[in-house]
Symmetry: C2
Subunit: 326 residues, 2 copies
């Protein structure tokens, strides 16, 4: 492939001048510019980005490390992040950790060696000590010391769900969601705030007997058996708020199997926005996260790494998504 030297030789100019034309910087006589541009077209010269990265010490690559891109919400987020960063001229490298700490760490090393410009980190692991201070990191839904983060307003989401269920006349409440297993882990999951918002609001109106179902962090799906166990002994609840739409759907199926009508007998509110379930019969009532806004915030944070030294945290509003299950 043709390189900048070929262009310079053929145009009868110096390398530096060609570089100036390409980057549109410094002084170049318009006559010279035209001549060079003609040659570039003629021999179909395209600047070698690797060499450019070499000198500039940056490569316009952003890596997105996440547990699993096939998870509905993560997949959507990935899509919008890619779309957003494309506008900024970044390329996105995808790194599924597949929930394996080791793979995540291998990726972290790889990315450091590849001098990626930034890292979007979405993890359930406590990898604080592996985070190189030279690496620009944005985290989503998890807080690490010194790392700016973007998250939905999960607390408000919990409050919103509680309010809605109260409004609809529910009396016996249940929350189903994964958890950071109390305080044993130093990772503060944003996701836990859904639970906190939900329970605190109910507490504020004098309701404290909320059934609380926990299951291990990072399980994005639940099996039929698990749902069965969750509901056993709690057939009196009439208002359920779940950590995700996927879980909500499983719960609804199980309720119906037990002769309960949704929403007549039990109201169910999910989380994420119910988008993926639109074509599947009942539309799930849900607290919506907005992946597009989140992606936008992430994009802004990443690009602002270059202007300011500190990047602020961002909380993205959630919204109520009307459905047929509450």
């Amino acid at each position: 492939m043709a390189n900048i030297k070929d262009v310079a030789k053929k145009a009868g100019v110096g390398i530096a001048t060609v570089s100036r034309v390409i980057n549109n910087s410094g002084y170049v006589k318009s006559e010279t510019r035209l001549k060079i541009e003609k040659v570039i077209k003629e021999i179909n010269y395209m600047p070698n980005e690797i060499a450019r990265s070499m000198t500039l010490q940056k490569n316009n690559i952003v890596a997105f490390v996440l547990p699993n891109s096939t998870h509905l919400f993560f997949g959507e987020l990935l899509y919008y992040v890619e779309e957003e960063l494309f506008e900024y001229g970044y390329k996105v490298m995808i790194c599924n950790s597949s929930e394996q700490l080791e793979k995540e760490l291998v990726y972290l090393d790889m990315l450091k060696n590849n001098r990626v410009d930034a890292l979007i980190l979405l993890t359930n692991n406590d990898i604080e000590k592996y985070l190189d201070k030279n690496l620009r990191v944005i985290s989503f839904d998890r807080r690490f010391e010194g790392v700016p983060y973007v998250a939905s307003d999960n607390y408000q989401g919990g409050v919103m769900a509680a309010k809605k269920l109260l409004e609809l006349g529910c009396k016996n409440f249940m929350f189903i969601g994964d958890d950071a297993q109390g305080d044993s882990t130093p990772v503060i999951t944003e996701v836990t705030k859904r639970r906190i918002g939900f329970r605190e609001y109910l507490h504020s109106v004098g309701i404290d007997n909320v059934v609380n179902i926990e299951y291990p962090l990072g399980n994005y799906m639940v099996s039929t058996e698990e749902v069965h166990d969750m509901l056993t002994g709690h057939m009196d609840v009439d208002g359920i708020f779940t950590i995700s739409d996927a879980v909500a759907w499983a719960v609804i199926k199980e309720l119906e199997k037990n002769g309960k009508r949704v929403p007549e007998d039990v109201k169910v509110i999910g989380f994420d926005g119910g988008r993926s379930f639109i074509n599947l019969g009942k539309r799930i009532t849900s607290i919506g996260q907005n992946p597009q806004l989140i992606a936008k915030a992430i994009g802004e944070s990443i690009s602002s790494f270059y202007n300011k030294s500190t990047v602020e945290d961002k909380i993205i509003p959630i919204y109520f998504s009307e459905g047929e299950t509450a």
Copy 2:
């Protein structure tokens, strides 16, 4: 960050020797090796991959260009491709074309400039003329001159669906699927072969009055109205084969709305494997594609670029996925 020169100086050896240790190549006295390894650990040296790419003229990056990673099957394929290529030491760059030819072309240029090692191409556009002969490309489900491809055995999938529906006693058949709009486009879509296999098998047993519904290539979802139109005037069909599970699901909903029972009155077979619909009530009977096998084939093709000059095409077997809709 420390570089190879720092290591060499601190260890009192030459740069070349350090390089030999890192790459485990050539002759190095084990004494020297130990000394160098100690220094590497001490100053936490990690080779700069950009510089390495510069000299080696390859960067271990594979780009996956596809219309939309949020499409269920594509998303799964992406996941397994990433998993597979990780084993080979490749990183995956994700490029959603969002069905825009222009974005696809911008990406193609970008990738060429970045000297990616290979490209996995999944497109509905006829971009043959933009494909640089120097770029290693594997295509999935589309055939381009001189480009090796990987595809499911779509023809056999069509045959399999036809056989099954016949076996179940269906008399009036319908095929719903997108199409390359006849021969007007030079792109040969593998997807069309599902239709061909289905119809040819039925033809071979004397059935030719198959209702054929086409809609534009690249529409991975159908709206309620579209499905309504598709079925209007065809309420006598009792065996339907659709291009995807997503479409199958929409069709089932519409049939049920019209008082038809599935599978009692009408049998419906989808395509992709019915995985995503497992938790959503009825399990869809489906012709399954195996994204894991496909990813494996793609990985092998990419790595074999380095051994042989020609890479052969690969057809991946499909399988019948039992469900409750046929």
